[in-house]
């Protein structure tokens, strides 16, 4: 009987893990739609190509070596057994390959963040070359120091210092933003974004219905992102935890959207949809570091804090001439840091775990410095070897034509 119950638990937890992984995989579609909506129509095919290709690159690189770097084992997943119980060193409550599947989609999420920030001007192949290093090495290294539990170059262990990041406000989102920031700094702003006089020009996105659909898809996928990070559902305790995480994740997104909409209304005089969308995502990023301990009200407020912060951050980035067409650095980086720092508010360090402010700061700094510096080096090498930016003429023509040779919305076509 007891064995039957264990098998049921194993099956249910594995099933839950896989469904959550599939939800997170769907976030790749969300990023693709969001980014396609916020770029100009002449850059649509290329941003879609980047999104779908980076997902494939991330999955392949994490399979080849990323997972092994982050969690141990051999390359090509060769030591992952099909059974988490028989022959396993420590019997798990879910299938090991389900764990890989759930982890791999997070890598893709981190990489998706980069594509939006460097959109409309970065060379496709330079971007994909960076994706190989980011998903095969840079992300797995910081992942091994955090979720992997390894010491940072043998110096200190973040877990011992009171660092906690439930589903990856820092490990996934801020890491992606740090890589994006390094890329944007070496890449420069889009032509026409800033006048010679220093004025900031609007470059309106081509398709706000797509951007809105993308945000809804991300919102939905996030239930897998945070909900799956409970890692189990087949007991009263873990089922309760999953339900709280779903509830709080949703509440934070709602709070973030409302706050961003109101802040934008007061700052600009109009209800800016793109800011509202960024606000929802900021709310989600803010709660990701700890969605299991806040009350529903706290989750709403944390989300609202993220949503308000993201509007100010986007405006500030624009003033600093850090051109980020979709606001990815603000949403995932600035609010990712906020999310980490909010963890000790509801989950302070005790003997049972939790987080301390100093631990969160050290963790955030470790992740940011590692990802930013290594990304800067990789982007720099790519810039020297193959160039990372398309020519001015190519940018003017649109990267759809120059990189993909294909328009997103062709008209007046004729076969040869």
């Amino acid at each position: 009987m007891e064995n039957n119950i264990f098998e049921l638990q194993y099956a249910l937890d594995t099933f839950y893990f896989l469904i959550c992984g599939a939800l997170v995989m769907w976030m790749a579609a969300g990023f693709a739609m969001l980014e396609a909506g916020l770029v100009r129509s002449k850059n649509t095919t290329e941003i879609l190509t980047k999104n779908v290709a980076l997902y494939a690159v991330a999955c392949t690189m994490y399979l080849i070596c990323g997972y092994a770097i982050m969690y141990g084992g051999d390359i090509f997943l060769s030591t992952i057994t099909g059974d988490g119980v028989a022959g396993a060193e420590e019997p798990a409550t879910y299938a090991p390959s389900a764990d890989f599947f759930f982890q791999v989609v997070f890598v893709a999420t981190a990489m998706s963040i980069v594509s939006g920030a460097v959109a409309e001007r970065m060379k496709l192949w330079a971007f994909l070359a960076f994706a190989v290093v980011m998903t095969g090495f840079i992300y797995p290294m910081e992942g091994s120091w955090t979720w992997g539990g390894n010491a940072v170059f043998g110096m200190y262990t973040l877990g011992d210092l009171g660092f906690s990041d439930f589903a990856g406000s820092g490990i996934v989102h801020m890491a992606g933003a740090a890589a994006a920031l390094a890329g944007v700094l070496l890449l420069g702003a889009r032509k026409g974004k800033y006048s010679a006089s220093g004025a900031i020009n609007a470059i309106p996105g081509a398709n706000l219905p797509l951007a809105t659909l993308g945000t809804f898809i991300l919102w939905m996928g996030w239930f897998g992102f945070n909900g799956g990070s409970v890692l189990a559902t087949a007991s009263v305790e873990s089922a309760n935890a999953v339900a709280v995480v779903f509830m709080n994740t949703n509440a934070a997104a709602a709070g973030g959207l409302i706050a961003a909409l109101i802040v934008a209304r007061f700052m600009f005089g109009k209800a800016d949809l793109t800011m509202a969308l960024n606000g929802a995502l900021a709310g989600l990023v803010a709660i990701t570091a700890e969605p299991s301990t806040p009350t529903a009200l706290q989750a709403t407020l944390f989300g609202a804090l993220g949503g308000a912060l993201v509007v100010f951050s986007i405006v500030t980035m624009d003033k600093l001439k850090i051109d980020d067409p979709v606001g990815a650095i603000s949403v995932h980086g600035v609010v990712g840091l906020l999310g980490l720092l909010l963890v000790p508010v509801t989950n302070p360090l005790t003997e049972d775990g939790g987080a301390s402010f100093s631990g969160q700061l050290i963790g955030a700094l470790t992740i940011f410095v590692w990802v930013f510096v290594t990304s800067l080096v990789v982007w720099g090498i790519l810039k020297a070897v193959m160039g990372i930016r398309v020519s001015e003429q190519e940018e003017y023509d649109g990267v759809d034509l120059t990189e993909c040779g294909m328009e997103a919305y062709p008209e007046f076509t004729q076969s040869k």
């Binding site: 900031i200 020009n201 609007a202 470059i203 996105g205 700052m267 800016d272 800011m275 405006v315 624009d318």
Partner: protein, 112 residues
């Protein structure tokens, strides 16, 4: 024969088409155009940065008419497209040398 080119507010297209049908106009060519007159453009806002939309969307109608139908057609367009507010558009009338119906080869008033 005259060629009438009318630039009107897009949401008035149905009213104008109906008014022209009522007076027996047989055909109209319509295009979506953009432009400005005294109305000028307006400013829009995207992520906190203002930008100017100089050219506003309008609908342009082109119709070829025999001389005796021109005045009544112009009246029909004016009364149907008028809102009394700035930006209602303009009507241009120009002489038309020849009209040819491609299917039959008819020319002149027969082809209109």
């Amino acid at each position: 024969m005259k060629m009438i080119t009318a630039v009107i507010k897009p949401f008035k297209l149905d009213d104008v088409r109906e008014a022209l049908a009522n007076i027996g106009v047989q055909g109209v060519t319509v295009s979506e155009v953009k432009g400005f007159g005294r109305q000028k453009g307006h400013t829009e806002l995207y992520r906190g940065a203002e930008y100017v939309v100089d050219f506003l969307p309008k609908v342009q109608l082109e119709l070829a008419l025999p001389d005796d139908q021109v005045d009544v057609a112009v009246d029909a367009i004016v009364s149907a497209a008028n809102t009394g507010k700035i930006g209602d558009g303009k009507i241009f009338i120009s002489p038309l040398e020849q009209v040819i119906r491609i299917r039959t080869g008819e020319t002149g008033d027969e082809a209109v």
